[in-house]
Each structure stands twice: as structure tokens, then as C-alpha cells.
Symmetry: C2
Subunit: 160 residues, 2 copies
């Protein structure tokens, strides 16, 4: 999970929502990814999907049956779907996502037996650290936005 947090920090440096993921095979990281939605302007560039793509490329195989995914935040529907499609052996995640998480929060796609694969799953891994990264990011974002608003107001008042 520490490697996933390193990825999340890379996202933070790019002023992206700090979420990171890695895919591990036989104890080795074979896929890494961090959220780059704003940088890439591509809605599909979530940490998990990028890490899965890299791992598939590494293995030369779309099946990641003996691989583990570590991700700092509970996966969304797209990433949960990607995890099922890639047949990942197991998924370990940090913080819950009550707004869009589909590995326990809104529903649990990963445990839905109607799909043809159900990975083993554990949540709450380094939860405090993973969650704190996000809370700090959004707090700072709100403060920046407030400051912008104050600056704008000051300019208007100066002009009037």
C-alpha cells in the first residue's frame, strides 16, 4: 500500500485528486498508476485502470489471476469493472468512498456472484494515511477557491 501512496503523491504534485494504485505479481510491482484526469483530460485515466493496463502489458496477458491490486481509495464502478475483467486475485484498498465507491459503500460489485469473477477483498489498509491525503487535498482546494473569490471581490471593490 505504501507504493500506492507514493503514486497518490505523484498525483498530488500534479494538482490531481491524490489517488494511487499498484498491481503486484509475486511480490513485485508490475503496474503503477495515479489519477491524471485533469492532466490527460481523459475521463478513464483513474489510478487503478492505468495500473491494470501496465500490468497487462507487462504480463502480455489480459488475465491478472495471480496478481494483487493495492489502491488508496475504494474503486468506482469503472475501476471495479476493470478489476473483475482482469480477473485480479485480490484487491486491497485504503479509504472508503461513500459517494462513488462500489466495493462496499454504494454497492459491492466485487462480491456480486452474477459476474464471472469475484476477487478477494480487504478494505481499511493504511486507511488513515490514504484518507488524510484526500481530506488535505480537498481542504486546500476549498481554501484556494475561497482566496480566489476574496481576490476577485477585492478587485471589484477597488474598481467601484
Amino acid at each position: 500500500m505504501e507504493e500506492a501512496i507514493k503514486e497518490a503523491l505523484k498525483a498530488k504534485e500534479k494538482k490531481e485528486v491524490p489517488i494511487g494504485a499498484v498491481v503486484v505479481y509475486q511480490g513485485k510491482v508490475i503496474g503503477r498508476g495515479h489519477n491524471i484526469r485533469e492532466t490527460s483530460q481523459d475521463a478513464t485515466t483513474h489510478a487503478e485502470l492505468l495500473a491494470i493496463k501496465e500490468a497487462c502489458h507487462y504480463k502480455g496477458n489480459w488475465r491478472l489471476e495471480e496478481c494483487q491490486l493495492f489502491v488508496t481509495l475504494e474503486p468506482c464502478p469503472m475501476c471495479s469493472g476493470g478489476i473483475i475483467l482482469a480477473r485480479l486475485e485480490s484487491v486491497y484498498f485504503g479509504a472508503m468512498d461513500p459517494k462513488a465507491g462500489t466495493a462496499g459503500s454504494l454497492m459491492n460489485l466485487l462480491a456480486d456472484e452474477r459476474f464471472n469473477h469475484q476477487p478477494y477483498m480487504e478494505s481499511g489498509i493504511l486507511e488513515e494515511e490514504c484518507g488524510e491525503l484526500l481530506r488535505t487535498f480537498f481542504k486546500e482546494l476549498r481554501e484556494r477557491n475561497k482566496q480566489k473569490k476574496r481576490d476577485k471581490q477585492a478587485v471589484i471593490e477597488k474598481e467601484v
Copy 2:
């Protein structure tokens, strides 16, 4: 939808499960994709996700709010998630997917108001044609597999 079917035919030529998708903006196709899971050996290379990626790239924006997606088969969880994330205005699909479809079959992620976007959705567009492509593909696949088995048996009997 005819453009999506053209994409599905490209997948068929590559011996991939024939599913195709296009993203349309102001009447123009700005993203195309067909399933290339076996060719790419990447679990995430579904038709819809590839079309969404191309459309985001074309627009230079992860938001596809004024765009429509046409896809020959009901989206899976990953692609349904991608549709929500890209904020597509509407989704039109052909055949239902009773095994993994999450736009009406197993559940309806696209209409779930707990997510921050719900696209307009219509199913059954050129359903017969879209479904027939898949039925023929799987029928031929089964026949090829049966023939392989027969050939193998013939070799064994010859050797005995």
C-alpha cells in the same frame, strides 16, 4: 448505430468478440472503438472505453456532456462507469447482455441516482443486427472448437 456496427465488424475480422462503439458530437463521429481484448491482451480495451478515450482526446476535455455514445451491446460495469465519469449526454445500445450488462440486465448503473451523473438511455437500437453478429460469432467459435476436438480425436485413434 450503423457506425458502431462497422466497428463491431472490425473486431470480428480480428477474431475478437464483435462489439463496436462510437461517440458522436454535433452529428459527427469523434471517437470509435471495437473490442480488442485478445489482440491487445489488455483487459480494459472494450469498445466503449476506447471510443470514450478517443472522444476525450478529440475534445481535449474529459467531459463529454454534449456527446452521445452508440454501442452494439449493453455496457458492462467498467464501461457503464466510464460513461458516468465522462458525463456522456446519452447512451444508445443494441443487444442486451444478460450475463454482464449493467444498463438494465443485472442492474442499472446508468440510472442510479447515487452517482453524480445519469445519462439518457435507450436500448434495442438495431437490436436484431447487433445480437445476430454476436450469436453468429459464438456459434462459429463453438463449431471451430468442436472441429478441433474431432481432429485431435482422429489423430489419437490413428496413433493407437
